[in-house]
C-alpha cells in the first residue's frame, strides 16, 4: 500500500497542480474506477473532523505515533501514513488498511503527539466510517470478536465469556484456538456457563438500537 503511493507520486503531482483541488480530482478518479465506496457530499476527512473534534491537517507527519506503537510491526501501513492518506484524499486506501483494526487503543500515540492529535480517537473514527461504508474488513477475526462481544452485551447487559468464546468460535470457525486455556477456565470455575443477565436489558437493547443507525 505504501508503495502504491510512491507509484502514484507522479499521478499525484499531475492531478494536484492543475486542478488546484486535490479532493476534486480524487472524486473524478473515484467516479472513473466506479468502486464501492461512495464519496458523499461530506468527505471522509470532514466526517473524521466531525467525529473526533480535531482537524486532520494538525498532523505534520513526524511519525512519533508510529515509533511508539506497540503493534506497529503487525500493521500494513504506519499509523502516521493513515493520517497522511486521509490528508491527501486517498480515502479508499486508508479505509481498506489493516492498521485501524490492529490499533489496540493503548493511547501511547495520543499522549505523546506533539500536536496533541488524538490518533486513537482518529482510528476509532476510521473504523466507524469503514464499517458504515461497508468496506470489506480484512482483519475479520478482530471484527468478529468485537461483534461477538457486543452481542453479549446486547443480550445480557454484561459480557459473558463462555458465550463470548462460543459465539466467537461460531463466527470464526476457529474451533481449536484457546483449547489450552478454556478447559483451565472451566476447571478453575472462572468461565461461568450461564449468562449473568442484568435487569434492565430493555434499556441496553434500546441503546443498541438507537445507536446502530447510520449518522
Amino acid at each position: 500500500m505504501t508503495s502504491d503511493i510512491l507509484k502514484d507520486a507522479k499521478k499525484l503531482q499531475t492531478s494536484f497542480i492543475p486542478s488546484g483541488n486535490f479532493k476534486e480530482s480524487f472524486k473524478e478518479k473515484e467516479h472513473d474506477k466506479n468502486i464501492s465506496i461512495q464519496i458523499h457530499e461530506r468527505s471522509v476527512e470532514d466526517e473524521i473532523t466531525e467525529r473526533t473534534f480535531q482537524d486532520v491537517s494538525l498532523c505534520y507527519q513526524c511519525g512519533k505515533c508510529s515509533a511508539g506503537c506497540p503493534v506497529r510491526y503487525y500493521m500494513d501501513i504506519a499509523p502516521n501514513k493513515v493520517v497522511r492518506l486521509i490528508q491527501l484524499g486517498y480515502y479508499e486506501e486508508a479505509l481498506n488498511s489493516d492498521t485501524p483494526w490492529l490499533c489496540a487503543g493503548c493511547l501511547a500515540c495520543s499522549v505523546r503527539c506533539p500536536k496533541e492529535f488524538d490518533l486513537a480517537r482518529f482510528m476509532d473514527a476510521v473504523r466507524e466510517i469503514a464499517l458504515e461504508k461497508g468496506v470489506e474488513i480484512k482483519q475479520v477475526n478482530i471484527l468478529k470478536f468485537h461483534n461477538a462481544f457486543l452481542d453479549q452485551i446486547k443480550n445480557h447487559g454484561r459480557s459473558y465469556e463462555a458465550g463470548l468464546v462460543a459465539d466467537y468460535k461460531m463466527k470464526t470457525l476457529d474451533l481449536f484456538q484457546d483449547v489450552d486455556s478454556a478447559p483451565g477456565m472451566f476447571l478453575k470455575g472462572k468461565l461461568i456457563l450461564l449468562p449473568h443477565n442484568i435487569k434492565n436489558r430493555k434499556e441496553i437493547k434500546r441503546i443498541f438500537k438507537k445507536t446502530s443507525g447510520k449518522n
Binding site: 505534520y60 513526524c62 508510529s66 504506519a78 501514513k81
Partner: protein, 665 residues
C-alpha cells in the same frame, strides 16, 4: 478655518474602485473646505508641490489628504505641510487605499465610504490644535543587560563610538553560552578562541563599566533619562585586592558539593570558584550555600592562604544607581529542561525520554562541554555514566521545539545546525562511531549552512532518519531509541550508547519579571517583543530600550552579533543629539477639575502620573491633583478613558476630535 482637501489616486490603486473626482468635488461643498483637488500621485514631488502651492495660494490652515495608510505617508505630508508653513499636526490622513479601495470591489459603495472617511477626517482636522514637539535632554550612557556575545558586542560598539557603557551580567563572568561551546558551525572554529579576545577587550575598555554578579533591580524614567538601580551581589571577595591567583580555589576543601553550572552539571566545583579559567573578571566567588564557613563558622582556609587579604566573608550586596539614556537588553536564552518541573508549568517535560533519569542522555550544551577541549573530559567523547567511548550516538532534534503538547510551538532555529555540527565533531573524534540523527525537517537557511549539513551526511556519513522518537529506555547499558523512519515507512530501533537531545531554546526563567521591571512587552513564551516584526526588529515598543540576541527569539551567533551591533547603532543614533524630540501625543490634566482620585496613576503603564499639590493663597495645600510628566508619557490615553471627571485630554486624539469623527459618520 480654511481647509485644503487632496485626494490621491495612487496611480490606479485608489481610483480603480473610488471615484476620486467625485470625492474631491463633494468635499468642496463641506463647510470650511477652501480648496479640494484630486491628483494621480500625491506623495510624488509634483503632488507635494501641489499641496504646498495650494497652502500658499489659498492661505490654508489645515489639510486633509485622502491617500494610503497614515502609517505609510503621514510623515511625508506633514513635512510638506511644515515646509509650507502649517503646523504638522494640522494634517489628517483619510485612509482611502488600505481601508477602502483595496478591500472593496463595488465602485459606488467604496466611493461612498471614501466620502465618509474624508468627512470624518475633515471634521477632525477642524478641531485639531497645533502641537509642538517635546524636547527632552539625553543622558549619553547606555546600559547593557547581559554579558553574552550579544551584550559584549553591543557594549563594545557603543563604547567605541565614544559613549559610556554599563554592562550588567548576573553570572560571575561574562561570556554567556558562547563560552561554553566547543566549535561553531559552519566553520568549525573554536568558540572560545574567537570570544576570549572580545571579553578581554570589554574588561580593558576605558568606557565600559563592567558589573558582573549583578542584577537590574529597577528601571525608572524614560527614553534619554532612565534611572537604573543595580544590585551587585556579594562575591565575598574584595575585588580590588584580588589578584586572581586562584590559590583559594585550589586550597578550598569543599570539592564535590556543588555542581559546576558552567560544565552543565557534568562536573563539580569548589565552594570558592571562577566559572571557567578564562573568566572575565578573573575574580572568584564564594558560594554561601556550600561553604563550610557559612555553615559552621569554621574552616576559613581561603582566608588563610590569601596573602592579599581579598577574602571578605562579611561582604554584603551593594546597590548602585546609574543614569543612562538607552538600555540594550541582551539576556539570551536557556535550554528546555526535559525534566518536568511542576504541574502548572507550561513545559511538560519528556517522560518518554526518561526525565534526566539516565546519565548518558544529554542536552545540546552538555554535549558541547563534552566535546570541548576545556571540558570535563578534555574534549574526548565519553559517557558520563561510565567513561566509555560511545560507539553509537543518537541525536534527537526538536526536543521541546515544534511540540504544542510540551509547551513550545515554535522552531528553535539553531538545533538543525548544531546537531549536524555535533554529529560531525563526534565522527571526527570517534572514527569508528556511528551517528544517527532523528529529525523532522532540516532547516539550514544561512550562508554555507545547507552545505554544512550535506557535508555531515556525505563526508562524515552521519545517518539522518526522518521521524520523531517516541521512547528511550535503557537495556543492558544501551539506550534503546524507538523511532520510525517515515520516509522508508519502517520502524527503527537504535541501541545507542549515548543520546543527545537538541532541546529547545527558551527564554531565561526571569525574562518575564525583568520585562515587567523595565516595562517592555513579551510574548506568551517570554521572548521580548520587538516594536515591528520587520521594520523595527531591534527596538522594543518602549522608546529607548533595544533588544539584542536570543532574548527576542532563538538566534545563532552571527545573528545575535548583527542584532547587537544594530541595537548599539540605535543607541548611538539616539545619542547623536543633545536633546530628544518626541511626538507631542501626550496626555495633559486639567488641574481645575481634576478630582484627585488618581485612577490615572493606577492605570498608567509608564508611571507618568505624579501627585501635584494645589495651594491656596496662604500657601496651604487644599487639594492634590494628577500631573502627567510629558517626558514619560507615551500617549496611550488609557488615563483619558479611565478619568471619571474627564479632566485628561490626549493631544492629537482629544475627545473633541473623536466626537467630531463619530458625528461625521
Amino acid at each position: 478655518m480654511k481647509i485644503g482637501v487632496f485626494v490621491c489616486h495612487c496611480g490606479e490603486n485608489i481610483s480603480s474602485t473610488v471615484d476620486c473626482l467625485r470625492v474631491a468635488d463633494l468635499c468642496k461643498s463641506y463647510s470650511g473646505v477652501e480648496y479640494s483637488v484630486d491628483y494621480k500621485y500625491m506623495c510624488s514631488d509634483p503632488g507635494q508641490k501641489l499641496i504646498k502651492e495650494a497652502i500658499h495660494k489659498y492661505d490654508l490652515d489645515a489639510i486633509v489628504v485622502g491617500s494610503c495608510s497614515p502609517h505609510m505617508h503621514e510623515r511625508t505630508f506633514r513635512n510638506a505641510a511644515v515646509s509650507a508653513g502649517i503646523n504638522p499636526f494640522m494634517v489628517e490622513i483619510a485612509n482611502l487605499r488600505e481601508h477602502c479601495s483595496w478591500v472593496h470591489d463595488e465602485i459606488e459603495a467604496s466611493t461612498r465610504k471614501a466620502i465618509e472617511l474624508m468627512r470624518m477626517a475633515i471634521e477632525k482636522v477642524k478641531r485639531d490644535k497645533p502641537l509642538t514637539k517635546i524636547n527632552v535632554p539625553v543622558t549619553k550612557r547606555v546600559l547593557v543587560i547581559g554579558g553574552g556575545i550579544a551584550g559584549i558586542q553591543a557594549a563594545l560598539d557603543t563604547a567605541n563610538a565614544g559613549y559610556e557603557v554599563v554592562l550588567v551580567e548576573k553570572e560571575p563572568s561574562i561570556g554567556g553560552h558562547m563560552s561554553q561551546l566547543s566549535e561553531t558551525f559552519p566553520t568549525l572554529d573554536c568558540s572560545q578562541c574567537i570570544l576570549t579576545p572580545r571579553m578581554v577587550e570589554v574588561h580593558q575598555h576605558p568606557r565600559i563599566k563592567l558589573m558582573t554578579y549583578s542584577e537590574v533591580e529597577r528601571v525608572e524614567g524614560f527614553i534619554g533619562n532612565f534611572k537604573v538601580t543595580i544590585r551587585k551581589k556579594a562575591r565575598h571577595i574584595n575585588e580590588e585586592n584580588c589578584s586572581g591567583c586562584g590559590l583559594c580555589i585550589t586550597k578550598c576543601p569543599i570539592k564535590k558539593k556543588a555542581y559546576n553550572s558552567f560544565e552543565e552539571d557534568l562536573a563539580f566545583r569548589p565552594a570558592v570558584y571562577v566559572p571557567f579559567p578564562q573568566a572575565i573578571p578573573n575574580i572568584p566567588v564564594i558560594d554561601e550555600t556550600v561553604c563550610t564557613y557559612y555553615k559552621t563558622g569554621k574552616c576559613g582556609m581561603c582566608l588563610k592562604v590569601c596573602d592579599r587579604e581579598a577574602i571578605d566573608f562579611g561582604q554584603k550586596d551593594t546597590i548602585h544607581v546609574a543614569d543612562v539614556g538607552a538600555i540594550i537588553v541582551a539576556t539570551g536564552y536557556k535550554l528546555y529542561n526535559i525534566e518536568k518541573k511542576s504541574e502548572d508549568s507550561i513545559y511538560k517535560g519528556y517522560g518518554e525520554y526518561g526525565y534526566g533519569k539516565y546519565r548518558d542522555i544529554l542536552d545540546g550544551l552538555q554535549f558541547e562541554r563534552i566535546a570541548s577541549a576545556s571540558g570535563p573530559t578534555s574534549g574526548e567523547i565519553k559517557r558520563p555514566s561510565d567513561g566509555r567511548v560511545p560507539k553509537k550516538l543518537a541525536f534527537i532534534q526538536c526536543v521541546g521545539s515544534r511540540d504544542d503538547s510540551k509547551g513550545i510551538s515554535y522552531c528553535s532555529k539553531i538545533c538543525c545546525m548544531y546537531t549536524a555540527k555535533q554529529a560531525m565533531l563526534y565522527r571526527h573524534k570517534v572514527h569508528d562511531g556511528e551517528a544517527y540523527i532523528f529529525y523532522m525537517d532540516i532547516r539550514a537557511g544561512g550562508k554555507m549552512y545547507e552545505e554544512f549539513v550535506r557535508r555531515a551526511i556525505e563526508e562524515d556519513k552521519v545517518k539522518y532518519i526522518r521521524g520523531r522518537v517516541s521512547r528511550i529506555y535503557e537495556e543492558n547499558g544501551k539506550y534503546i531509541v524507538k523511532g520510525e523512519d517515515t520516509i522508508a515507512g519502517m520502524p527503527v530501533e537504535i541501541d545507542a550508547d549515548m543520546v543527545v537531545l537538541a532541546t529547545a531554546m527558551i527564554p531565561q526563567d526571569d525574562a518575564g519579571s525583568l520585562a515587567r521591571k523595565i516595562g517592555i512587552p513579551y510574548d506568551k513564551y517570554g521572548f521580548f517583543n520587538e516594536a515591528h516584526p520587520k521594520l523595527r526588529p531591534v527596538e522594543s515598543t518602549t522608546a529607548g530600550i533595544f533588544l539584542a540576541g536570543a532574548c527576542q527569539s532563538p538566534k545563532d551567533i552571527p545573528e545575535s552579533v548583527s542584532m547587537a551591533s544594530a541595537a548599539a547603532s540605535k543607541a548611538i543614533i539616539l545619542f547623536a543629539n543633545d536633546t530628544l524630540e518626541r511626538e507631542p501625543v501626550v496626555a495633559k490634566v486639567n488641574e481645575d477639575i481634576c478630582a484627585g482620585c488618581f485612577y490615572c496613576m493606577k492605570v498608567c503603564p509608564f508611571g507618568a502620573v505624579e501627585v501635584k499639590d494645589v495651594k491656596d493663597m496662604n500657601g496651604i495645600v487644599y487639594k492634590e491633583v494628577a500631573y502627567i510628566n510629558q517626558g514619560v508619557c507615551q500617549g496611550c490615553g488609557t488615563c483619558t478613558a479611565t478619568c471619571l471627571s474627564k479632566s485628561i485630554e490626549l493631544a492629537g486624539f482629544n475627545n473633541e476630535e473623536i466626537f467630531a469623527e463619530i458625528a461625521a459618520l
